[in-house]
Every structure is written in structure tokens, then in C-alpha cells.
């Protein structure tokens, strides 16, 4: 009987354990986590949980009985500090060692931190795990002025929550528009207007150059010498993949732990899945790294299939979402390298989609308060992405029917 160790008890680790059992694996499965909590959902941390609408236990994917039923051993307060692929052992922070036959890295990512003097002040917060979200929630209760560094998903979701709670909110974004890495200017502009209408102030093309903590506030100075004060600063400037453990074990790493389309590292008995991977997907020419629920789930399924020796190549279309106030942004595909952005519907109505084309092919679709178009777009991209631009632009054309006919 063989044993599989899964390092990282987030969405990918939990899915991997689940898929191994559903696929009939009968050896031991040990899931190592270092947060002390059952695997839980991260997306609500920057949304309902931060608003105070949810207790922590409601974030768990499954109750403890689920893991007992699956015979998955949970080691949830057990940071793995070293992996030896020759002797097939791993070492934990508490000094314990454990043997494994096959291994999975689902180590996720950690936040990028501000590299400025004063940034260690506890009023400068980051958001990744439940304890981070709890700390922000507590500070939000008494803060009046909230400054957010980074106009990406995390920053804007936190801005929406802070405004909803009546805080004075300023967002600094180094680029000249919001979510610049992932959406077209028309979508950036729409979200800027949404937040402006709710009273969020933006400093675009601005970065933080100095931070001066005092007992009463954090004094912030920007590159253009704007000075502002905050009771709470939330930083959302991206993440680093947790690849160090794999790299130290001798596995190739680039922008993440390098895996092929079967989620296998160079050692075919070692897989990796989720935010930590520099991955291959047969739909894309180039490797990339993705930070998303969809990728954690689907790549973990691929990794499990490889460990079960029933390999399936990763070919899922990536999708993402963000909730800000009552606006739901759903994205499918990767728009990098697009030539034309076709808008379907009128942004002024608060419900529209943007189709990103390269030549005649749709690379990606962003939908704002248009979940049915998002679902249709997922089917469209899964079947190759061919859709005439006139049809994409015509809100009266029934996408679902057109795509089903293709």
C-alpha cells in the first residue's frame, strides 16, 4: 500500500485529497496545512466575511466528518519545512518526520509585502488567510480613514467593503487604470465610475514612497508628494508563489513550481497544483501561473489523475470572478495579446460583456452583471472561441443558441 502526502491544505490540496479517494486510491492520504484550520474558502475573505456577514466556521469547504469518511489524515497545524525526494521523507516544523511514496505540492502563494520603512506597523494589513481577514475586520470596526494600496481585485473588493461600512476610502494604483493586468480599459473605466459614485477616491498612476506611523495615524506620502493619513492601510499588490520547498528539493521552478500538462513536476511521482504552479494547459502555447479557485480545483483533479496513473491533460478554460458592491465581474479565458475588445451591451446600464479577439477568435470574455453571457462564453471558449464579431456585438443575438449550434 502506498502513501501520498499533500503539502498545503487550501482549495487545491482539499480537492486533490477528495479526487484521489473518488478515483479509488486506497493507500494513506495525509493533508498537511499550517493554518490550524480545516480547508476553507478564501474568496469570501475579501467580500462577505470582511463585511461581517459570516462566521469563520461557515467558510469551511466540508465538516471534519467528511475527511474522516474519506480516511484523509489531517495535519492542519504542521508546516512542512523540508522535503527529501531521495529518501522520500518530509520534515515538519515541530521536528517530526514522515515518509511518503508520492507527493503533491499545493502550497499556494503568499502576499507581496511593502518594502518601506514603517511597513511593519500593525495598521498595515494584507489579505490572504482567515487571520488576515479577521485582523482587517477588527481594525475596520474603529478605523475612519482607509487607504488601499493596489487597484486590483483584492484592493477593490476591500474598498467596496470599507465604503459599504461607511469608511473614507482612498485607493492608490501604480498604473493609470484599475485592474490593468486583467481587464480592458472599458472595464477599468466602468469600475472606476462604480467606486467613484460610492465615494471612493482614486489616486491613479501613484505609488507610496514613504510611510510615517504615529500614535494617532499612518502618514502616507506618494511619489507625486501627495500626503494623506490613514487609520488602516490594506495592501493588495500581488503574491509570490510558495515554491521554495519544491525548489530546495531540487525541482525546477520558474514563476512557480514547473509542471507539465499532467500537473507533474520533473519527478513523475511528484505533482503540484493551484496558485503555486508554473503550468502547462494544452489550450495555451505558453506556460503561465494562475491565481484562482477554478485553477485550484481543475488542476488538482488533473494532478490526482496523474497520481492514480490515469493521466488526463489539463485543458480547462480558466475563469475568475470578483464581487464589488452589487456588481459581479466574471471573466473567462486570458485576454493577453488581444487585438480588439468588442463591447456587447451598454456599460451605462450596468450590465455588459467585453469580448477580447485575436483575429477571428475570442481569447477571453469579461461579463459585468451578465452571468448567463459568462456561462455561454465558457462554452464558447471550451469549443474553440469562434464567434463572428457582429454576433458578439449584438445584444439581441442569443449567444447560448448560437454556441450550441456551432
Amino acid at each position: 500500500m502506498s502513501s501520498i502526502a499533500i503539502i498545503g491544505a487550501g482549495q487545491a490540496g482539499m480537492q486533490l485529497a477528495d479526487s484521489l479517494r473518488r478515483g479509488g486510491f486506497e493507500g494513506s492520504v495525509i493533508l498537511y496545512g499550517d493554518e490550524g484550520s480545516l480547508p476553507y474558502q478564501r474568496p469570501p475573505l475579501s467580500k462577505q466575511f470582511l463585511l461581517g456577514d459570516l462566521e469563520a466556521s461557515r467558510l469551511n469547504f466540508r465538516p471534519i466528518a467528511h475527511y474522516e469518511k474519506l480516511a484523509v489524515t489531517l495535519r492542519l497545524d504542521c508546516a512542512v519545512t523540508q522535503v527529501d525526494l531521495q529518501t522520500r521523507t518530509l520534515a515538519m516544523a515541530n521536528g517530526e518526520q514522515a515518509a511518503f511514496d508520492r507527493l503533491a505540492f499545493t502550497t499556494g502563494a503568499r502576499v507581496r509585502k511593502l518594502a518601506l520603512p514603517g511597513a511593519e506597523d500593525p495598521r498595515v494589513c494584507y489579505l490572504r488567510g482567515i487571520t488576515d481577514a479577521q485582523a482587517i475586520r477588527e481594525r475596520l470596526a474603529t478605523a475612519r480613514r482607509v487607504v488601499i494600496i493596489g487597484g486590483g481585485f483584492i484592493g477593490l473588493e476591500v474598498a467596496a467593503v470599507a465604503r459599504t461600512l461607511g469608511k473614507e476610502v482612498t485607493v492608490l494604483e501604480a498604473q493609470t487604470r484599475l485592474m490593468p493586468r486583467v481587464v480592458a480599459p472599458v472595464v477599468s473605466a466602468y469600475f472606476e465610475a462604480v467606486h467613484n459614485q460610492r465615494g471612493v477616491r482614486f489616486l491613479l498612476g501613484e505609488s507610496l514612497t514613504a510611510l510615517a506611523p504615529t500614535s494617532s495615524a499612518l502618514g502616507l506620502t506618494t511619489a507625486s508628494a501627495t500626503y494623506l493619513e490613514a487609520d488602516l492601510v490594506v495592501v493588495g499588490i500581488g503574491v509570490h508563489p510558495n515554491l521554495e520547498l519544491a525548489a530546495a528539493a531540487g525541482l525546477p521552478c520558474e514563476g512557480g513550481i514547473v509542471v507539465n500538462e499532467f500537473a507533474c513536476t520533473r519527478d513523475p511521482t511528484v505533482v503540484a497544483a493551484g496558485d503555486c504552479t508554473w503550468q502547462r494547459n494544452i489550450l495555451f502555447e505558453r506556460p503561465h501561473r494562475l491565481e484562482s479557485v477554478q485553477n485550484a480545483v481543475d488542476q488538482a483533479k488533473v494532478a490526482a489523475a496523474s497520481l492514480l496513473e490515469k493521466p488526463v491533460a489539463y485543458s480547462q478554460v480558466p475563469w475568475f470572478w470578483s464581487d464589488q458592491y452589487d456588481v459581479k465581474l466574471q471573466m473567462v479565458g486570458i485576454s493577453t495579446g488581444f487585438e480588439a475588445a468588442i463591447v456587447r451591451g451598454n456599460p451605462e446600464t450596468g450590465a455588459f460583456s467585453v469580448f477580447y479577439y485575436l483575429g477571428e477568435r475570442v481569447l477571453a470574455v469579461d461579463s459585468i452583471n451578465r452571468p448567463a453571457e459568462h456561462m455561454a462564453a465558457r462554452r464558447l471558449l471550451a469549443s474553440g472561441g469562434l464567434l463572428a464579431k457582429e454576433l458578439a456585438a449584438d445584444p439581441a443575438a442569443d449567444l447560448k443558441t448560437i454556441i450550441e449550434k456551432n
Binding site: 461557515r58 452583471n369 452571468p371 448567463a372
Partner: protein, 107 residues
């Protein structure tokens, strides 16, 4: 606590008690009822927590929002007259005994 009853595709029945205010999807997930996937964790964004509400109960539910209604067009198992997304159904004392059927697939 109010009861929720899940009927699995094989017609087996699970009766649960769940706090008022939780969604039917959460009651399923937290009690390990299989067949409710909830990929998006309850954001009304994915259509993988589809249930078919018992006809006796369907009329007592708050109507589906336009978003939910749109997503119900995209479920993996075909939509029926009483299909709902379980993440949008809030458990309450007045819905004590709410009975829903789980479709045979969600993705």
C-alpha cells in the same frame, strides 16, 4: 432549527437541521451532502448548486433574482419549472421541512 430535506438522485433521503439564515447550499456542504458542488462558494456565479424544489414548496420561496434566473438557464442538468440555485435559498422557520431534489450532475 428548521429542517431541510435533500433527495439524492438515487432517491435516498437526508433530513438535516440547519440554522436559520444559512443557505440551503451551506446546509448541504456543512453536512457533507454530496451532489451540491458550489464551485463559487455561494456567489451566484456558477450554477453548480442546482436543486429542484419540491412542488409543494416552490411557491413559498422568494422569487429568483434576474442573475439567478439567467444562471438557471446554464445548469448542467436541465432546468425544470422548480429549479433553483441552492446558494440563493435562505433557510428560515417558515421554510421548516423544505424539500429539494439533487440533480444527477452539476458540471
Amino acid at each position: 432549527m428548521p429542517k431541510v430535506i435533500f433527495i439524492a438522485p438515487d432517491s435516498s433521503r437526508r433530513e438535516l437541521e440547519s440554522p436559520a439564515g444559512w443557505s440551503v447550499m451551506e446546509a448541504a456542504i456543512q453536512n457533507d451532502v454530496l451532489g451540491i458542488v458550489a464551485e463559487c462558494g455561494g456567489g451566484c456565479a456558477c450554477a453548480t448548486c442546482h436543486v429542484i424544489v419540491d412542488e409543494a414548496w416552490a411557491a413559498q420561496l422568494a422569487p429568483a433574482s434576474p442573475n439567478e434566473n439567467d444562471l438557471l438557464e446554464c445548469t448542467a442538468a436541465p432546468r425544470t419549472a422548480t429549479s433553483r440555485l441552492s446558494c440563493q435559498l435562505k433557510i428560515s422557520a417558515s421554510l421548516d421541512g423544505l424539500t429539494v431534489q439533487i440533480p444527477d450532475r452539476q458540471t
